[in-house]
Amino acid sequence: MFKRMRRWFRAVGGGRRLDDQMDQELAFHLDLEAAKLERQGLTPEAARTEARRAFGGVERVREEVRDTRRTSWVDTILRNVRYARRSLGRNPGYTAAVIATLGLGIGANTTMFSVIDGVLLKPLPYANGDRLLLVQHTASQPNFGVSIKELYEYRKQLDSFEGLVEFHQMSFDLIKRGDPNRVAAGVVSANFFDVLRVKPILGRTFQAADAAHGAPAVLLLSNAYWKARFGGDPTIVGQVFEMNDRPHTVVGVLPPVPIYPQESDVYMPTSACPFRARGEEHLAENWKTFSNLRVFGRLKPGVTIEAASAHIATVAAQFTRDHTEAYRDARGFGAAALGLLGELTRNARPMLLILLGATALVLLLACANVASLTLARTLNRDRELALRTALGAGRRQLVGQLLTESVMLGLGGGIAGLLLAAMTQGALGTFIGRFTARAADIGIDGRVLAFTAVVSILTGLAFGALPALVTRPGPASLLRQSGASAGGPRQSRLLRGLVVAQVAVSVVLLAAAGLFMTSLYRLARVDAGYHAERVLAAEIFGNFTRYKEPKDYLRLYKPLLERLSQMPGVQSAAVGTVVPLGQQGQPFLNAFEIQGRSAIGRDRPAADVNVVSTRYFETLGIPIVGGRDFRETDTTESAPVVVINQSMARYWDGADPVGSRVSFDKGEHWFTVVGVTGTVRQYALERDGVAQLFIALNQSPFPAGASVLLRTTVDPVSMTEVVRDTVHSLDPDMPVEHVQTLEALRSNYLAPTRLTAMLLGLFAGVALVVTLAGLTGVLGMSVSQRTQEFGVRMALGAQPGSILTGVVRQGLVMVAIGLAIGGAASMFVGRFFTSYLYETQATDPATFGVLAIALLAAAAVACAGPARRATQVDPMLALRSE
């Protein structure tokens, strides 16, 4: 092997040096021969001449040795490459078409691979990231995350982990010299960063003492926040900020690696979060207190994931046995350990795999297309190849030559593809960011380059193999005069087969894109139960330190709504803790009971509890379908009332809920239902809205930070500053966040689906154009081969019309066969992604109908060009040409 390499380098790099060595060797020989002759009695001159004569011409020998050397495989490749470069250079049109087609195919695959590699394949950016596990609770009901007490129990009982750490995120105001900034604060265990194996770039991470009860509050800054907010200030460590009415000291800055499970601006130990600290005080009386922790840990060496998972499940089962009351509402409660990487990418995985499938099809199609282009070109090179055969080139050499050309084209396509991938990377990263926190790990690196190189070479071999295999030029074809007669029935059948294959692949892509678009269209038009147009929402959450009581919020919201509703352009204004498709993400379900109705034998009913002001339903356009809306007269002085939605009204089994009473605290406090509203698809457009219950703002039993909602008669975005100014005139320190129109929220919600559909549509569009171009090309070739036939038929009186339809029919038959194959294939493939579609089956008749008609129409247009050429054949010329 080493010898081989050395010889390779010598042959490639040292041609000159080899020649010198050979000269030296030959000179040595001649000298020895002359010396021998001299010993036999010749004069030195005569000996020298005789030696040269016996040798038989130094120059000829030298040339012969050089020839032997050139036949090494390296030289063969180099010669093939040189030849291919010349040959491709003579056909710039063909070369450009192939490189562009392959560039699209390889580019799409490179991009998808870089995404999949970054998101799904690459390990987490921590030492031994595959040993990090997430403790996942499952239950019939949401809000059954890990509680503080459960975490402590896990820590006590699980010896399979090096460390179990917690994470939850909160929004707080970080105040620096009176300038409030709402930050996402990650609240973590003291050893959180040790378990992740993340080292700070400045200062230190947390220590056990930081998490002790009553310890001075400390902060770690994320790299991004440190750079964006403090310009990477190296003196940040030791600076003191105010947060939650306490001084917080910065102790360190994190490196620029993604911190999972969720990026935060700042991190604080558990003792610094006032809510978490308060939960700590109730551990004894409430087993499930503060159950929104995300817990993960690092496995001890030698422990398998399965063993750890089984261990956790056993401990969780024991919880439900020992604390029946705490787990009463959680049917099917269980726990398992899941790989952190798998959990972080769960949402992105199916979409990415669907898109990768689509790009693989695009590449396959590009290969088929380029193969037919190349085959056609090879047939036209019949004479050239035959000439080379006649000159002594073996079949192996010819095939090698053709494959060298196609691999070079494949590599050219690979370079074009890399450029394409580099250009589209940014946009795609944003797209992927909507699915997973791992988008930051996407990039073109060595692995992606290696992938592209391999794909390029395989592509070249794939599309080159077919033409190379069917080409059997014998010297005989030299004798044929006409170049046009090249390509026997075998080759034309192959060309037609390639067109059919391309159509079939395009149909699969078009069907996938079509199904996603149909699904998107239906989802976008779904009646979500409210009117989104001309409504602005703005989050106005006070920090809990200043807004402790419900009346604190009333003091802000009451005058705010009064002022806003009098502004010109405002139709109605309201506040509510819930905004359709807003930031909340998931419902906050509370179990309730209905007075006088037994809950035995069924799930305890639960509803999403919200606090809204009067005119909330009017502002959002939610209809009142029974009873009444809230009134200004519903106050702390009057009877507590609630409005429920139709989804919640189902629990009354057809009876009228208005007038009955519900309780959330086992009958301590009762609320009278006064009205029923339509159901809003509050959290997800795909699913029916959850059961919801609304409490009047005036009667709210807890301080409820809410969003203000404005229905306007003008462009709602133009009211943004008005809202901000009005809020600040009442409370200058109140942050106004997430100012967005409801339409924008709805559009944002659809964005991932829309982007998926658009990407699939783009791939399908590329596929269609490439396929139709291939169809035109193959048909055109067939027409030029049949020139004589058309000439004869015209001469015999055939109508141009019948020739035209004949050619078009020939094309459409190929398309129809491809359509049938592709249609069947896509119905099969479609079954794998129907679960990602909204009310659309893999066999959706509308989608397939439109697809078939559009494809046939487009194909007819593609056939028109060659067909018209067939009718323009001059009979005389055609007959004379032979």
Binding site: F28, L32, T68
Partner: protein, 112 residues
């Protein structure tokens, strides 16, 4: 150049080179002298065709070469040496050669 000197049969040069090198490393001139001597001057190696053959055998990996000092002449010379594959090749070619010569000899004998 007497009539008793034979031109080499096509393909036998390779066999002779391999056989000669099986005795030990040697330079080109040495190989040609050796073949001539051992065949008692019957076989005349065309010196011009020796070098292309040596290079061909080296490409094929049957022999290997190295520059070294020639002790007899005290100057740098290129020495050729049989490789492991070369040894196998020599055995194979020898067997074939014997097969052929026996066959030819038999035919000639029956003819007479």
């Amino acid at each position: 150049m007497t009539a008793s000197r034979l031109d080499l049969l096509q393909g036998t040069l390779d066999l002779l080179i391999l056989r000669t090198l099986s005795l030990g490393p040697m330079h080109g001139w040495g190989i040609s002298q050796r073949i001539q001597q051992v065949s008692e001057d019957v076989l005349q190696v065309n010196q011009g065709s020796l070098y292309p053959a040596l290079h061909r055998l080296e490409e094929a990996g049957w022999i290997d070469s190295e520059w070294g000092r020639s002790p007899d002449h005290n100057r740098q010379a290129k020495f050729y040496r049989l490789t492991k594959t070369g040894e196998r090749r020599l055995a194979e070619e020898t067997r074939q050669w014997e097969l052929m010569t026996t066959a030819v000899a038999r035919i000639l004998a029956s003819e007479a």
